[in-house]
């Protein structure tokens, strides 16, 4: 039984079965023998064909956060029947709608765009003051400012929606 795992921005086909106390994992037609063992509090020791890795896995409900050697990686699963092909899934990942969220608590110092403005990739949108530093939030894509939910001097909390670009 195959599953589709999206690890960061790439999709892998994943299959596994028990074999002599270890697990045989087949990923995109390559086969690995994995010996996995809990360490403590969300950490796992993996021996993958002998190679040793320690990962920390946090179940975030709709995805897993995995830490490995200073890298933080998101893992999501998709039902293979819901998508006709991996290619189709890859393309569906590109979002046409961009929602700008406050990355941290702070105060809106300045709005740099107005409703209806066209912005380019990397354009400054809003200046947020937090921890005594001014931080500029930028657009990740080309688009038009569809909605603005905040005003200058307003205090925002992490994850709060600031504006929508389409």
């Amino acid at each position: 039984m195959k599953r589709q795992a999206k690890v960061e921005n790439k999709i892998y086909s994943v299959e596994f079965q028990k074999r002599n106390g270890k697990v045989e994992v087949i990923i995109d037609n390559r086969c690995y023998l994995v010996d996995s063992s809990t360490i403590n509090n969300g950490s796992f020791s993996l021996l993958i064909d002998g190679a040793s890795r320690v990962i920390f896995v946090k179940d975030r409900g709709d995805h897993f956060s995995v830490a490995l050697g200073g890298k933080n990686i998101d893992v999501r699963f998709y039902d293979p029947r819901a998508l006709r092909s991996v290619d189709e899934m890859q393309s569906s990942l590109k979002q046409s709608r961009q929602i700008i969220l406050a990355p941290m608590a702070g105060r809106i110092v300045r709005l740099q765009v107005r409703l209806g403005d066209m912005v380019s990739d990397g354009a400054g949108l809003v200046v947020l003051e937090a921890m005594k530093m001014e931080n500029e939030l930028k657009s990740q894509a080309v688009g038009c400012i569809k909605e603005i939910f905040v005003s200058e001097n307003e205090v925002v909390i992490p994850g709060q929606q600031l504006m929508v670009i389409e």
Binding site: V25, Y32, M133
Partner: protein
């Protein structure tokens, strides 16, 4: 000697000071804001007193509350750490008036060095070279415009009462001057309650090199060599070294002599740092003197073996320095990396949150200074530094390779960190060559072994799939329910995980 010292700070530096107090047999009192009740410095101290709400202005900058706590605890002295009130001459004076010893130079020396105008004048009078720039603190844009005429662009606008990299802007041309002035004023007022600014010549390819000094009240002044602090982001140091790879014996002799003259110029006492800008031609200019312990003091301690906090306390207690110049020898090389809860891919924006997993390196030649623990929440109110990681080696290359090793041992989960950036930097060709300047991080090339990573990514996906399969009956992903049921035959995983 003091029987008890109150530490008017938080985080790693509060703990750093308490460690030395404990080694000297001195009891410690901590202060904490309401946001810091669970913080490590509270647990670490012998006693702890709440001094107000989370915002620093109501707690760690609240000098009256701190002095009240000191009285309540029966402490005889106050160590201010770095940041917060450490360079407030007013606080030093208040301590003195309350009959408490402020562990640092006198209010009058802090005042003189904290005021860039007075400091520049004193340095010029004692033959210490300074950077071309405005002599007086400037309050309005007309003055700034006037002063800028004599300096070739690029120039820099800095908060007159600034420090720690806050409230600074580079101005590349006349057109940018006004907006930069306004931004610095805002930040300066927010951070230091003083909106005045100061302009000076900006050197795009310069190094930041500083000299550690120690002085006692009977006139002994020694230096503890230089630190290289050129690797910065947002004007804050990230990686420091002792000694500097660019400083040869001749330059070292000049820099340390100038630093001692600077300290003598103001009859300095305690530990202090004289910061210099060194340009491409190895000409150096006095930047400022930090009248407190520095974040990066640990590299100097690693190389000289001198406990700088111990010397601060000794001097404040009226004792003479515990070491003389001839006994202070450079032994090997030390590098420090500051590990921050921040996102280097998003303008180093702080990333507060719970530290879900934490592991610090051990073994030979490493020192960790930290104020956090697993399960603790990095707060949005204060500096997001997680730890200072320092290594020592017989030479720079040994210290560098050891740093790569110890960064590999670091684990921080739950918040974004600059760990990968530090790892890349330590392996950067220019860093290896010691070819550093203050723009280094903007240019650092990212080395990576993608093949290895690719392989790991696939395995990670597989392992998560196995964990998910082990949790039968949990419909966390409703569109995937059929699979969950089928996967339940892999239930053995739930026993292993």
């Amino acid at each position: 000697m003091f029987k008890k010292i109150l530490i008017a700070n938080r985080g790693e530096i509060a703990i750093r000071v308490m460690r030395t107090c404990r080694e000297m047999g001195i009891a410690t009192a901590a202060v904490f804001s309401e946001a810091d009740r669970k913080s490590l410095h509270v647990c670490f101290a012998d006693e702890a007193f709440c001094i107000g709400p989370a915002p620093a202005i109501e707690s760690y900058l609240n000098s009256d509350a701190i002095i009240t706590a000191a009285r309540q605890s029966g402490a005889q002295a106050i160590h201010p750490g770095y940041g917060f009130l450490s360079e407030s001459s007013e606080f030093a004076q208040k301590c003195h008036d309350a009959g408490l010893v402020f562990i640092g130079p006198s209010a009058c020396v802090i005042e003189q060095m904290g005021n860039k105008t007075l400091a520049r004048k004193a340095m010029l009078a004692h033959g210490v070279p300074v950077i071309p720039g405005s002599v007086e603190a400037l309050d309005d844009f007309e003055q700034v415009l006037e002063e800028s005429r004599d300096i070739a662009y690029p120039l820099m606008i800095k908060a007159a009462s600034g420090g720690g990299g806050k409230g600074m802007r580079i101005v590349n041309c006349r057109e940018e001057l006004h907006e930069a002035f306004l931004a610095v004023r805002r930040e300066a007022y927010g951070a230091f309650a003083d909106s005045r600014v100061f302009i000076e010549k900006y050197f795009p390819h310069s190094r930041h090199i500083e000299v550690q000094v120690l002085a006692d009240s009977i006139g002994n002044v020694v230096h503890l060599f230089e630190r290289e602090c050129s690797i910065q982001r947002r004007y804050q140091k990230v990686i420091e070294e002792c000694p500097s790879p660019v400083v040869d014996n001749q330059l070292r002799q000049q820099l340390t002599a100038a630093a001692i003259r600077a300290a003598q110029a103001v009859q300095y006492t305690g530990a202090g740092t004289v910061e210099f800008l060194v340009d491409e031609n190895k000409r150096f200019y006095f930047l400022e003197m930090n009248t407190r312990i520095q974040v990066e003091h640990s590299v100097t301690e690693f190389v000289t073996g001198v406990d700088l906090v111990k010397e601060q306390i000794r001097v404040a207690a009226g004792m003479s320095l515990g070491t003389e110049q001839a006994a202070i020898v450079m032994n090997g090389w030390s590098i420090e990396c500051r590990l921050y809860a921040e996102d280097p891919l998003n303008k180093y924006m702080p990333d507060p949150g719970v530290i879900e997993k934490l592991n610090f390196p051990e073994g030979p030649g490493v020192r960790v200074d930290s104020g956090v623990y697993e399960g603790w929440e990095v707060s949005l109110y204060y500096d997001p530094m997680i730890a200072k990681i320092s290594t020592w080696g017989r030479n720079r290359e040994e210290a560098r390779l050891r740093m790569i090793r110890v960064l590999d041992e670091c684990v921080v989960c739950g918040v974004k960190t600059n760990l990968l950036l530090l790892q890349h930097t330590l392996q950067d060709r220019r860093f290896v060559a010691g070819d550093l300047d203050t723009h280094f991080l903007q240019e650092v090339s990212r080395s990576s072994s993608e093949d290895q990573f690719e392989h790991d990514m696939a395995i990670i996906g597989a392992v998560c799939a196995m964990i998910a399969s082990g949790k039968k009956g949990k419909n966390r992903m409703s569109h995937d329910q059929g699979l969950w049921r089928m996967a339940s035959k892999y239930q053995f995983w739930s026993n292993r995980f």
